[in-house]
């Protein structure tokens, strides 16, 4: 039950073929339709090892096979990765944390109140909060600044799911049995990588959390909670 990772996974099939095909001389096929650098695989948000902090993780461009595919994966300089935080309960972002690559460095802005909300974003460079050198496949470079911690680079995919069986469940081919028993099922994402952006932020920078949205549908008693989502936005 993932979102675009499925799309990414399937899209690779059509998107990954760019090779110039030498056939019958009069004819070069178009490259398969491109544009995967915006595809979000996952969003995680959890209490940090310091309980006063919250950790935000966005993974993109998954799944990447080990070796050259992972090694060649890069963050697109035209793609802004934006964590959106609603701390008033109206599902409009009050704060954003933005990450974007320039050369070999990922720059982080915020959390700050953006000048505009919704489909379009700009970067207010005055809100730079830190930067980190993008890690390669055999190194882990992190940075801390302004009480925040930063990472950007390839990681093992933390997501696990029997995607192949899910397809059969949805298509009806696996009906009526459904999913496989533990031991027979297999995790499609095992052994695969993703590109990850990780930022850890003191809760004091996120404002006061609003009442939990579950109260709207009669589920009471859950602790106050921000509403958080991630977007990828391409430079126009």
């Amino acid at each position: 039950m993932k979102k675009t990772k499925f799309y990414g996974l399937l899209a690779v099939v059509a998107l990954g073929v760019f090779s110039v095909v030498l056939i019958a001389a009069d004819h070069i096929d178009s490259p398969a339709v491109a544009g995967t650098t915006v595809d979000i695989a996952d969003l995680y948000a959890f209490e940090g090892s310091n309980p006063d902090n919250t950790v935000f993780i966005a993974t993109i461009q998954g799944p990447l096979t080990p070796g050259a595919v992972t090694e060649n994966a890069i963050f697109d300089e035209n793609v802004l990765i934006e964590f959106n935080i609603d701390n008033t309960g109206d599902f409009v972002e009050d704060l954003v944390i933005q990450a974007i690559r320039r050369d070999s460095v990922m720059y982080f802005f915020g959390p700050y109140a953006p000048a505009e909300v919704g489909m379009i974003s700009t970067i207010n460079r005055d809100n730079l909060s830190g930067q980190v050198e993008i890690s390669g496949i055999d190194e882990t470079i992190t940075a801390t600044d302004n009480g925040m911690s930063f990472y950007a680079g390839p990681r093992r995919d933390a997501f696990y799911f029997d995607f192949n069986q899910f397809n059969l469940v949805v298509s009806g081919a696996a009906a009526p049995e459904g999913f496989l028993a533990s031991g027979e099922a297999s995790d499609f994402f095992e052994g695969l990588n993703v590109m990850a952006v990780v930022v850890e932020v003191p809760n004091s920078m996120l404002g006061t959390a609003p009442a939990h949205v579950a109260g709207n549908v009669g589920i009471n008693g859950l602790p106050d909670a921000y509403n958080v989502w991630v977007t990828t936005k391409r430079k126009q």
């Binding site: 915006v38 999913f179 989502w229």
Partner: protein
């Protein structure tokens, strides 16, 4: 390279040196130690090519201008792919705003019922979604999915997507959370979470049967493991 080209390069290098010397000479009379901030070389106390140290800050040279338009969005895991049901709706969802998703609710509800029909047909019975362990009926459940599609993140509580033992739910998403099984329980588990759990002749729809395997979720920042080589 042709020899005459080498000569030209040598000549231009000489000119460059002369130029640098003159310039530095004008600045402070030091012809050796002072590097130039516009020689295209990282030298002196520079942190990048012609920036940092006594030159302009490297950050100031970077361009962050322009506008950026949304192409993908994600709150809770799986929502768009599982419930949209078609490429067009998926594409529309990706460029929609969280606060403007009312139109997706009936689509999501249809998809939820369609999943049940697949199994109803296979079993030769009529099957419908049944209010789930959180007590949400189909309309309410799909409203939550469509219109409140964000991770709820509680700053002052344990993080869990759903912990059946404590009943705590929706306070964030950890790396370890089995979001697939949780979502399946909410979709197919009925009011006790075990409606289609594979027992008593029911299809197994409340778990995909896989766990995290040997993944290590106990690591310090950045919390994720190094890439598989």
């Amino acid at each position: 390279m042709k020899i005459q080209n080498i000569k030209y390069i040598a000549l231009s290098l000489c000119l460059g040196l002369l130029f640098t010397q003159c310039k530095d000479d004008d600045d402070n009379g030091n012809v050796i130690e002072q590097a130039s901030c516009d020689d295209g070389i990282m030298n002196g106390d520079e942190e990048g090519v012609d920036c940092g140290g006594s030159c302009v800050s490297c950050f100031d040279l970077l361009d962050f201008s322009g506008t950026y338009r949304q192409e993908d969005i994600m709150g809770r895991p799986g929502i768009n792919t599982v419930f949209s049901g078609s490429g067009t709706i998926k594409d529309n969802f990706n460029v929609s705003l969280v606060s403007d998703r009312a139109s997706f609710q009936p689509i999501f509800q249809n998809t939820l019922e369609a999943y049940h029909d697949v199994y109803g047909d296979a079993l030769g019975v009529s099957l419908d979604y049944e209010a789930n362990i959180l007590g949400l009926d189909a309309a309410t459940f799909t409203t939550v999915l469509a219109q409140f599609d964000a991770l709820q993140v509680a700053p002052n509580a344990q993080t869990t997507y759903f912990d059946p033992n404590t009943g705590l739910a929706l306070t964030g998403r950890t790396l370890a959370d089995d979001v697939i099984d949780i979502s399946l329980i909410l979709m197919f588990g009925g009011n006790d979470g075990a409606r289609f759990d594979g027992n008593n002749g029911t299809p197994q729809l409340t778990s995909d049967g896989v766990g995290p395997g040997d993944r290590d979720f106990t690591l310090p920042f950045p919390y994720l493991e190094s890439p598989v080589q």
